[in-house]
Symmetry: C2
Subunit: 178 residues, 2 copies
């Protein structure tokens, strides 16, 4: 429908590679720091940080998952770990009995506090020290719309699963159950 996508020109290629490598290096370093300073994986840190920012320190599972985790069971698993560590609590939601409300505990906030300084230090050392003030502003100005664009994209997968109605007309003609 749109572009023929023949290849990437050198600038696109370099931008793509840099983006991937920078994030990979940054994330790896951050993961080591989080693990060492607070025994948290990156995903766990993201979940905790999200709860820390939320009003009341709470989210339901679906809100919490958004953007961090790509499957429900994955979140249940992580939330279970955080709960077992005493960093969050889980309780049935007040308004929707199906829902689970996850709330950060004092211990969770302490853990965040224990981890933040080192986290920020890594970000400065690895990322921001290499950029001028204007560069950072420019980068933010470029990437924020990119994220919005990506969020608006159809998921391409990851959600068309419980689509009951596809009994006929699917790709697989034969006999997969479910």
């Amino acid at each position: 429908m749109s572009s023929p996508t023949p290849a990437l020109d050198p600038v696109e290629l370099a931008a793509y590679f840099s983006l991937i490598e920078a994030t990979s290096l940054l994330r790896h370093t951050v993961e080591l720091q989080l693990k060492e300073a607070g025994d948290l994986s990156y995903v766990q840190f993201q979940l905790l940080a999200r709860l820390g920012d939320a009003p009341g320190g709470s989210h339901n599972m679906t809100e919490l998952a958004d953007g961090v985790v790509y499957s429900r069971s994955g979140l249940t698993y992580q939330a279970g770990l955080l709960e077992k560590a005493g960093l969050v609590t889980r309780a049935p939601s007040a308004d929707d009995e199906r829902g689970t409300t996850v709330t950060i505990t004092d211990a969770g906030r302490s853990r965040l506090a224990a981890v933040f300084p080192g986290h920020i230090e890594v970000l400065h050392r690895m990322l921001f020290d290499a950029l001028s003030r204007d560069d950072i502003l420019t980068l933010e100005g470029l990437l924020t719309p990119v994220v919005q664009h990506m969020r608006a994209m159809p998921p391409r997968s990851a959600s068309r699963r419980r689509t009951k109605g596809s009994t006929a007309g699917g790709l697989a003609g034969g006999g997969h159950r479910d």
Copy 2:
């Protein structure tokens, strides 16, 4: 010793979040595409692509690992998978008998060819369609120095392990072996 790293200002925070989320979404989508089009994980794709670009289609293990994988055994594992799938061959290096030369096969190149169009399409759809020509140039201009900066950083871990000599003066007073 150096910066007090009090906190991130809003722009830094936004830049950081955008960077992480954009890359996460992009990578997730790319991984689905690579899996579907060529049954490759992202790491496997990177290794294969790197070999495809190399003169003679070869690298030794250490060169191949650089920047893609963070442990030796991880690369051995992945290389083993690629070899089992017939996409690369492994042979003792000519010049250094300790080394292993990994070479992409014709099947490996075919696999790359099978995967590239969709890969590029995803990149355009998710990333480049949201940016102007100048934006892409700017992004590349910002991130390339960032990567160089990151590469130049001391690894902070991940290599200070076989440092025999630290019998005295280390952090752990006691008796960890090795």
